[in-house]
């Protein structure tokens, strides 16, 4: 779909490829690292590269949220848990599975990649004119194009999200706390 924005400057295209390739290389390094902390750091790199891609594709707000929520909050929680459980050192005998599992995983990966490629080769009929989003952002600012639908068409989903987050908070606290002596005694009886 190179006809979407026909006058893209070469510099833009070059940077797009650079960040995409950085994301993929960092993801490969993430999957192959033995130490969980190193893996988490490479995943953060992937997320930063993705944020750059979002910003280049007229999704500046999503790019900022990506850095704040994913790289800033979710990955910090992961690192907290790695340190809390003292799993920072490269793990024991074999973190990756045996040769058979690796072959199975490679086969599934290749098959899946081929399928996704076949699906994305299909012709896409744009429903908005080229460059529409960029012009909208220029006119109303970065956040308004996302905030409008979020609080009108998708208001119900937005409200349900708050219930989801409440359930997640309660679940995390209940699952993560230690059992008290009283409860242990009640179970023993």
């Amino acid at each position: 779909m190179s006809d979407v924005q026909p006058t893209l400057p070469l510099f833009y295209t070059f940077n797009f490829y650079v960040f995409g390739i950085v994301a993929i290389i960092a993801a490969v390094l993430f999957v192959t690292r033995r130490s969980p902390v190193a893996a988490a750091m490479w995943l953060v790199t992937t997320m930063f590269a993705l944020a750059a891609l979002y910003i280049m594709m007229d999704a500046q707000f999503i790019g900022a949220i990506q850095v704040l929520v994913y790289a800033g909050a979710i990955m910090v929680v992961f690192l907290f848990v790695i340190m809390l459980l003292n799993l920072g050192q490269p793990s024991d005998v074999a973190d990756a599975r045996g040769r058979g599992w690796k072959l199975v995983a490679a086969a599934i990966g290749v098959a899946m990649l081929a399928q996704i490629f076949a699906l994305t080769r299909a012709h896409v009929q744009p429903s908005i004119p080229p460059g529409y989003l960029a012009r909208q952002i220029e006119y109303t600012g970065v956040i308004a194009p996302v905030a409008g639908p979020l609080f009108n068409e998708y208001l119900l989903a937005f409200e349900v999200t708050s219930v989801l987050l409440l359930a997640a908070v309660v679940g995390a606290v209940v699952l993560g706390r230690r059992r008290t002596a009283v409860e242990d005694a009640a179970d023993a009886r």
């Binding site: 797009f16 459980l85 599992w101 639908p149 979020l150 209940v174």
Partner: protein, 97 residues
């Protein structure tokens, strides 16, 4: 840019799937799931260029679900670690026949 973004998205998703299948560390498996969510977000943002801004709103919701999932999932991993002193999925086989 759409085709390139979908290419990157497909490759990242596949890397995440292969990671889930080959790693035994529960935390890294979990991070691979996050990578898959990120790959899907990338294609949402790419499609939002040709189909309108709804794709970006979906990314917003996906991120919320991912945050909730990370909180609950990591709490489960902590609870599991207290019981079994390990996060190696090979050793967590209580339900195995």
């Amino acid at each position: 840019m759409l085709a390139e973004a979908l290419f990157f998205s497909a490759v990242l998703f596949t890397i995440g799937v292969v990671g889930v299948l080959t790693r035994r560390n529960a935390i890294i498996v979990f991070m691979c799931v996050e990578l898959m969510l990120n790959a899907v977000n990338l294609s949402f943002v790419a499609f939002s260029q040709v189909y309108g801004v709804a794709g970006q709103v979906f990314v917003f919701f996906v991120m919320t679900v991912a945050a909730a999932e990370a909180a609950v999932g990591l709490a489960i991993i902590i609870a599991l670690f207290r019981h079994r002193q390990t996060v190696n999925l090979q050793n967590i086989n209580l339900l195995k026949g």
